[in-house]
Symmetry: C2
Subunit: 386 residues, 2 copies
Amino acid sequence: MRDFTFYAPTRILFGRGKIAELPVHISKCANKILLAYGGGSVKRTGVYDTLAALLENAGIEWVELSGIQPNPKIDSVREGVELCKKHDLKAVLALGGGSVIDCCKAIAAGVYHKGDLWDMVDKNAIKRALPVFTVLTMAATGSEMNGNAVISNMEINEKKAIKSELLKPVASVLDPTYTFTVPRFQTAAGVADIMSHILECYFSTVHCAAVQDGISEALLKVCIEYGKAAVVTPTDYTARANLMWASSLAINGLTSCGTGNAWSCHAIEHQLSAYYDITHGAGLAVVTPAWFDHILSKNTLDKFVSYGKNVWGIKGNHPFAIAKEAIAKTREFFASLGLPETLRGLGIHSSEYFHDMAQKAVKDDLANAYVPLTEEDVVAIYSACL
Amino acid sequence: MRDFTFYAPTRILFGRGKIAELPVHISKCANKILLAYGGGSVKRTGVYDTLAALLENAGIEWVELSGIQPNPKIDSVREGVELCKKHDLKAVLALGGGSVIDCCKAIAAGVYHKGDLWDMVDKNAIKRALPVFTVLTMAATGSEMNGNAVISNMEINEKKAIKSELLKPVASVLDPTYTFTVPRFQTAAGVADIMSHILECYFSTVHCAAVQDGISEALLKVCIEYGKAAVVTPTDYTARANLMWASSLAINGLTSCGTGNAWSCHAIEHQLSAYYDITHGAGLAVVTPAWFDHILSKNTLDKFVSYGKNVWGIKGNHPFAIAKEAIAKTREFFASLGLPETLRGLGIHSSEYFHDMAQKAVKDDLANAYVPLTEEDVVAIYSACL
């Protein structure tokens, strides 16, 4: 186990109706806030009205920023920062999934940034931030319990991650019923995203981090069982609840602390969504099995065997056979959720940008990945995905 | 899964030499603190000197309270509160195991308590507290990452738990090398304590909390593998590290959130250490298997089967046989660590106080335990332990 710092201060309010407890926590730091959300779904489902009534009752005023898109764009960040400055807002409340939360984190930091906001994102130049609160409506990114955010700049085909403990939400509402209306495809993509967060840490050169490995395996099994159940029966509370809690724990530091290397599949996928604006989780479902195929060797075999035995329950004595079956099961599982198996299935039919994307992907520290990856490796993985 | 709030804001500084990072966090809230520890072991091992030098370099002054005993006594709390008031100390730093930390938490709250301090403990009357920091020297109670403390009053044979989120340490140093010198018996008792924290939550009437159950099973397996390894080879870093991290996660809310009932074995054992001042974990190692025997029935069978299969790897198709083997394996495991199997092994040879202790134990909410327990049940469990 490597040395680490673990710090997950976000207060999680989990369960049916727990949103009622949120205003008291907001009130401790603000009485006028930015309320940000995406499209109209939060209005259709009623969660917007519930929240608005609670804020009103608590005497918390708000200004709205709506229309935040998947793969949130720097333009929304600029807009949010303007609103916060203009109205002297003291906190940011995200109502939505990971994209809305990520956008809000960038806004919270952007309020204090002097200079261009893309520059802040590009250099991860975060010195101070407004407090962030979230009401989660989709289980996927885990952004509700960590200090990370990913922002896109479509003008230059860039997708960049920012990271600071200042961005860790003060409190997050996790009400599984809010995810009942998430469409099957988005639910499935969320499952792939959660699993990728865990796998990126689990496949590590660090040995003997048994606590982290055990937690990772437990969470992966939850994703497999309840991810499938949530796709099949969107209103299955138990499935939605376990998936939602798994999504937060997958990437709040528990699985990465003391383990981990630079992430591979996320770096590779980020370029796909930067170039093609595809759904992040769906991209990961395509990339992950191809990455597995690419990195399986006698050096990585032991980890694949642990994965196969402890997560998929594969029996047997032939390590390579177990490893290959584990990869096959991963691929089959994503397909069984209705996710595409190839880039073509995502609408990407050409290798036109593979070299450009690979060039950018390796800059995400892929030399320090679990298995170090060169541009050629990444092109090979993209090609295998096609 | 039940609704829950999860809030674990303690910053964990984990690994060799991470103590060097502690002063910067203390400095944010205090430049004059109470430094509390137990006996001379922290001086013999050198951790006291390391810490003193770091504090001095950071310009943090301190006043010392030493001699804090296992099952920390209200007298030490009184003494600590006096020191804090007299010297206007602004934070409390515990250097030791759970007893020292628990005592420091009570001191931190006691500084703001008007009236008698035992009254504060008895009524859990905590309104405000000084910030608490810890440097952990033993893996057991998990006090380094939660808001709980247990204080004893030997004059009236009472042992009471206090609980408040105000008592959650701001930062805790977990350096596994500090536990290399923990004697075998104390290490073993710590393992039993950690496992009991998990089992008290795992045996729950709440179904379908798959995330929590999976994490619990993972942590139990870590205790079994690395608990044994740490007892056999006290300087095994991997064993000490996994055990230490498991001890914090076992009782920081992760295993109890959304599950759980009033705790059984702890209520039963607390009376034993209140009356006989025995080592808490050793008491739990005796009580837990006897409690298992007492509550095994067709109503609890499913949980025992999950425990047997997922934690102990027991195969088979006969549920009662699996359950009984799981209990036997638990008992054998504690014995293999060198822990006593009976109350006689703990120096308790008479049933003299069984009724008195049972009467007090049931007041710890045993009517709301996993299997509700009456005074007669508790006497039966004590008797089976004799």
